[in-house]
């Protein structure tokens, strides 16, 4: 088995065990419920937490027991398009991934206080720059165009109020 796959599975198994154990610990604090309800509100979350942790343990056990066996074919054998898609994907970039999550978190933090128009403009521009490879023309035209189309669609098309933030005095005129 590929060592990268094994490493990923070990990390995934550790996360499952830790997460399942945490759910069980928190779940045990849920009240037992009433006598007429034999399971009560506690059993389901605790059982699921335990189940997730057991899946993690079994995943590691399976790797140790069957590590020399080749992976089985997918449902479509050697014609699986998901495998083709994976082959087409470029090399992984942690910077891009962390950057995308951080930019999105920042965008959502600014969504209401700064307002939709400015925050979305900056968000789309930041993501395009993070992705890389966008022609200069696109960097100038896409962010305002996307922002304006969405703003007008929601505010006037769907009549859904969009946060105006610091532009509120200007937009409410």
């Amino acid at each position: 088995m590929d060592s990268a796959v094994v490493r990923k599975d070990v990390i995934a198994a550790a996360v499952l065990v830790a997460f399942g154990a945490a759910v069980v610990a928190v779940g045990l604090k849920i009240p037992l419920g009433v006598a007429t309800d034999p399971l009560g509100p506690r059993t389901f979350p605790v059982a699921l937490g335990a189940g997730i942790a057991i899946c993690g343990v079994l995943l590691v056990a399976g790797m140790l027991l069957f590590r020399s066996a080749p992976a089985g074919p997918g449902l479509l054998g050697d014609m699986d398009p998901e495998d083709e898609a994976a082959a087409e994907a470029g090399p992984f970039s942690l910077t891009r991934l962390v950057g995308a999550v951080a930019i999105t978190a920042g965008y959502l933090a600014a969504f209401e206080p700064v307002g939709y128009l400015l925050s979305t403009w900056g968000y789309v521009l930041a993501l395009m720059m993070l992705h890389g490879g966008a022609p200069g023309r696109s960097l100038v035209s896409t962010p305002p165009l996307v922002t304006l189309v969405l703003y007008l669609t929601f505010k006037y098309g769907l009549r859904i109020p969009v946060p105006e933030g610091i532009l509120a005095p200007l937009l409410s005129r």
Binding site: A12, P38, F154, I160
Partner: protein
């Protein structure tokens, strides 16, 4: 309806936006609609995406959706021979035929099944929901354990918030925002759409923006119909059968249909070299899956695919509890949906012809613009649900979780199924035990429930058995053999 079909075709044509992602993106825009209109629009997106995926597959050898991958084998060969317009026409007409027949079969099957489930009580409903859950876990990936863990995670998410039977607070961590539980739509959009966009950002595709072929649609002549009718029938039957099987989906059906169309063809030697039957078979199956997939979804409340799970989520969004009683309690809605599905499939041909140029334009969009625009659409869409920024935050969190699941091989579809079925599984299990005064025998003494539980055990053990048999047949490699042997 027209907008749904048009968006589905454009979305399906853009690689990376599968039918389910296109539906997830459209979901927030259905908030202001009534349930029937919302469902018909989503069905339009679904049907449109099935055809849309074939456009880049045929023109550029680049499937827009996994389900259209089989059509490129011969579709692209036809394009190279200068017959792109004909290949698109066959894809559109045969796909529409498959879609229409599947809806008729859906109507014929759902009504009797809907009447049958009227005899269901809590134990039967629990056993049925449990069966559905294990089916998707078993079929959704190469590792059943990962499928089960992902499904359990989805089930766990449904326990967050106020317990409906006792009023106890569960897993809310003192947060008022979690009292009503995890928003299923935000979770679904995060798992499917946000994670896909993060994946495209973290792994920019090696492909360049494709050189777009200028194309039009040419409908097949009567003589060409005679050439492809056998493949069309084969595709319809395969699509229906595979569609009814939860977890198999459009991808499996189109490849199976391609192989079967070749097997039944009078000219199998043309397959792979530009056979029209090689386009008709998989394309018909790809579209026929929708009707087959909706049979378990509407009759018993078990979604067979990601797209069907989104249809069920749309029901929940509109305050309708999906499940075995959907047919009896919301007959009018279901029949309106049937009528809408027929219209949606009929609309495919005119919209498909008109929208082709827009698809080619969408395919020319640079990936950075596309990814950034889609993420902006996602977050304003999830915000619009209740004008609260918590929903986009949830979509972001589930996007990160979904990305992590993708790279480690955990199927997000199983989590979504857990989310959709979780409430039904827990509440019916507890109700059954309350009725039986705590006796678990209630699930065995009720024959229907016992059959479903046996089927569940069978489905769970079957891959284990197959794996065992495969390992016995695999010879031990010298590297794995003990030293000195």
């Amino acid at each position: 309806m027209t907008a749904g079909v048009a968006w589905g075709i454009i979305g399906g044509a853009i690689p990376g936006i599968s039918g389910a992602v296109a539906m997830a993106l459209a979901l927030p825009y259905t908030f202001s609609m009534d349930a029937a209109t919302a469902l018909i629009m989503l069905a339009g997106v679904w049907a449109g995406a099935n055809y849309g995926g074939s456009i880049p597959a045929i023109l550029m050898r680049m499937p827009g959706t996994p389900g259209s991958a089989a059509a490129l084998l011969d579709g692209y060969e036809l394009t190279r021979q200068g017959k792109a317009a004909k290949a698109l026409g066959i894809s559109l007409v045969c796909g529409t035929f498959g879609g229409l027949v599947s809806i008729i079969v859906l109507i014929a099957l759902v009504v009797p099944l809907g009447n049958l489930v009227l005899a269901f009580g809590s134990p039967e409903i629990f056993a049925l929901a449990f069966f559905g859950l294990t089916l998707i876990a078993g079929l959704s990936g190469k590792s059943m354990l990962k499928g089960l863990a992902a499904g359990a995670f989805g089930l766990l998410l449904t326990t967050v918030g106020l317990d409906t039977l006792t009023g106890s607070l569960r897993l809310t961590f003192g947060r008022r925002e979690l009292l009503s539980g995890v928003d299923i739509i935000s979770a679904m959009i995060g798992l499917f759409a946000v994670s896909e966009m993060f994946h495209q950002l973290a792994h920019p595709a090696r492909r360049e923006t494709p050189a777009v072929v200028d194309a039009r649609t040419a409908f097949p002549t009567l003589a060409e119909f005679k050439e492809v009718w056998r493949a069309t029938i084969v595709g319809t039957v395969v699509g229906l059968i595979v569609g009814v099987m939860p977890g198999a989906g459009a991808t499996a059906s189109s490849f199976v249909a391609y192989n079967e169309a070749r097997r039944w063809s009078k000219r199998p030697e043309l397959f792979g070299k530009g056979s029209m039957e090689g386009v008709a078979g998989p394309e018909t199956a790809n579209n026929a899956v929708q009707g087959g997939d909706l049979v378990p979804t509407l009759a018993i409340g078990i979604p067979g695919s990601n797209s069907a799970a989104i249809m069920l989520a749309a029901l929940i969004l509109h305050g309708i509890v999906p499940g075995p009683f959907l047919m009896s309690q919301h007959t009018e809605l279901v029949f309106t949906l049937f009528a809408g599905l027929i219209l949606v499939n009929l609309l495919m041909i005119p919209v498909g012809v008109v929208i082709l140029r827009a698809c080619l334009l969408a395919l020319r969009l640079p990936p950075p613009s596309l990814v950034a625009s889609i993420l902006a659409i996602i977050f304003i869409g999830t915000f619009a649900a209740d004008l609260f920024v918590l929903n986009p935050i949830l979509a972001l969190i589930f996007g990160v979780i979904g990305y992590g699941m993708r790279v480690t091989g955990f199927p997000p579809a199983a989590t979504v199924l857990g989310l959709v079925l979780g409430f039904m599984v827990e509440s019916e299990l507890r109700r059954s035990l309350i009725i039986s005064h705590g006796s678990w025998a209630v699930f065995v003494t009720h024959p229907i429930s016992a059959v479903f539980l046996l089927a569940t055990i069978g489905v769970l053990l079957y891959p284990v058995f197959l794996n065992y048999r495969r390992r016995r047949k695999t010879p031990v490699s010298p590297a794995a053999a003990p030293a000195g042997s």
